[in-house]
Symmetry: C2
């Protein structure tokens, strides 16, 4: 818990050395640069992180589909990365993005459109759909 | 990818049913209610989530120490939860908190005190330490 244990410079150094977990992933939080709202939490593998840095647009790794995924590939709702940060132990990434359209596949601007009330129930903070997922994903 | 597949109401329902991963955890993002800054990314198991809701202060589960952890237990730097949200598939939690002192064990207000520059290097966005970790953690 002390910086004196930071012998390899992960916490205080200026070298970017992301720490991937056993599955080869880091957690990534995307926030809206305009509203500061948390848009989504997803994962990146090394390739997704590299492509995000190279292209300036967010790429993720889908754990359910087990594949690399360019955000907005199907919907056009890309995320342009304005700033990327890492945390103290370099196992999480925070990207501040310009969100085209909406971040959530349900059509809402953010995936966090419901708040927890009293521990068991949810209420909609933002029920409005920016797009119609049926039309966009053509299922 | 469509809401039509939301047959169990996870995405559109009003019942809070957090989806814990194989290790029994959900990812939690804490942001500062005053500045909207991302303070930290951590994990909660069912007990940590329950204690957070019951107490109104953040509890986490430490993967490295394999134990429940009340944020601020040692340092006094507790997080008072103003709002809790969940995401579309209910496997991530976003808490907006009043942060007492600083969130990061290195002494910075946020764990995300460095930004990624050009893919390989980091620069300090906020190098200032709110507290001296050597003194607080007495190592």
């Amino acid at each position: 818990m002390s910086t004196s244990s930071d012998s390899n410079g992960i916490e205080e150094g200026l070298s970017f050395r992301p720490t991937f977990d056993a599955a080869g992933l880091v957690t990534c939080v995307a926030t809206d640069v305009a509203t500061s709202e948390v848009l989504m939490v997803a994962h990146m593998n090394e390739e997704a992180l590299r492509k995000t840095i190279a292209s300036g647009e967010a790429w993720y790794y889908s754990r359910s589909r087990k594949s690399l995924w360019r955000k907005g590939e199907t919907s056009g709702h890309v995320q342009r990365v304005v700033e990327m940060r890492t945390d103290c132990d370099q196992d999480a990434i925070w990207i501040r993005v310009e969100q085209v359209g909406a971040a959530c596949h349900t059509g809402r601007h953010s995936c966090f459109y419901r708040k927890v009330e009293g521990g068991e129930w949810l209420s909609f903070v933002d029920a409005d759909k920016v797009f119609d997922p049926e039309a966009v994903y053509r299922k």
